[in-house]
Amino acid sequence: MLVRERMSTQPVTIVADTPITEALRVMRQHHVRRLPVLDAEGQLVGIVSEKDLLYASPSPATSLSIYEMHYLLSRLKVSEVMTTAVITIPPDTPLEEAARIMADHKIGGLPVLEEGRLVGIITETDVFELLLELLGARLKGLRLTLEIPERKGEMARLTTAIARLGGDILALGTFLGDDPTTAVVTVKVADVPAEALLAAMRDLGLEILDVREI
């Protein structure tokens, strides 16, 4: 799964010398929380988040009158509060790599550039939707969480046993285990009774951490 497949294409952008009050209005109108910032030539020069704009507003403890505040805000430009050291990615970046960059840099969205041109934006929310898919959150079945030894062939043993019972694996995800010798697998299965599935897992010597029908 690559960024290209899940990014928003033709993102809403803003020009660097726009007043921040206008930038806030654009965000609310389009229901977005960040805007790539372009210069007059259409080149990406920064990114601005709703939070950058809100923090730029006078603090609640200010002694300014409401008129003074509005005047100040209308004079303040996006270029003065935006982040200029923008981290961008190409569209063929794997989604988990995009997610890693967002997590490591504590940022909520990445502009996507192709040959220097802005072609999209990918956000935490896009990645989040994918997480739902990965764990089959919108599908119904028997959900099993198992601890499996971190060894070659363990996943094959697990999936083969389910296939042998006639089960259909709706979703499967692997997590890090408590220590490097184990992994935690969550699998959602249809078309197998719970007892038969559990018995098969015990036969494989796998530790069952959780079982539920969803």
Binding site: M1, L2, E50, K51, L54, S59, P60, A61, T62, D92, P94, L95, E96, A99, R100, M102, A103, E124, V127, F128, E129, L130, L131, L132, E133, L134, L135, G136, A137, R138, R143, T145, R151, K152, G153, M155, A156, R157, L158, T159, T160, I162, A163, R164, G166, G167, I169, L170, A171, L172, G173, T174, F175, L176, V184, T186, D191, D210, R212, I214
Partner: protein
């Protein structure tokens, strides 16, 4: 994976009658983005940094907080918590036990799980392929990787292009990419993307 494994226990809270400025100070000091709002021992809402920043200077937390909180328990499945957040467009959920607040789980906590799920911090050959939606296909796939002596570092399944197939991303160590691709193609998988990462 259950909420209890990834929530923040005993979260920092704010009183409903606290001024917005005080709540913002807590958020800044404790580096969090959401605060459960309490009235004595009772949870009465949740307030986000965003709601506080948009508030009028003289408001109290009670005036800007979200009152309709959707609680989960420690034993709610993580993807169920994720689904609730996505469906209601909210980014945090209070975790309750017998009517008492015991934790908070946020979008950021769930986000980190995604990295693990696809092995973003591990190195290997990363293969994405379209797998026919038939029982046993995943078993064939993992069986062949095991036969090649490969170690599956991560495996995730996504919805495919249509109901007849499914997209699978797998990260494998100890097998050359070329060999892996050849075997998968022989199994009838359509290779979408290959890379070393």
């Amino acid at each position: 994976m259950l909420v209890v494994e990834r929530m923040t226990p005993n979260p920092v809270v704010v009183a409903a009658d606290a001024p917005v400025g005080q709540a913002l100070a807590i958020i800044e000091e404790r580096k969090v983005r959401h605060l459960p709002v309490m009235e004595g021992e009772n949870l009465v809402g949740v307030v986000s940094e965003r709601e506080l920043l948009r508030a009028a200077p003289d408001a109290t937390v009670r005036q800007v907080m979200t009152r309709q909180v959707i609680p989960v328990t420690e034993y709610t499945a993580l993807e169920e918590a994720a689904r609730i957040m996505a469906d209601h467009k909210i980014s945090s959920l209070p975790v309750m036990r017998h009517g008492r607040l015991v934790g908070i789980i946020t979008e950021t906590d769930l986000f980190r799980i995604f990295l693990e799920l696809l092995g973003a911090r591990e190195h290997g050959v990363r293969l994405t392929m379209l797998v026919p939606e038939e029982k046993g296909m995943l078993a064939n796939l993992t069986g062949e990787i095991a036969r090649l002596g490969g170690n599956i570092l991560a495996l995730g399944t996504f919805l495919g292009e249509d109901p007849t197939n499914r997209l699978v991303t797998v990260k494998v160590a100890d097998v050359p990419a070329g060999k892996l691709v050849a075997i998968m193609e022989a199994l009838g998988m359509e290779i979408v993307d290959v890379r070393e990462g």
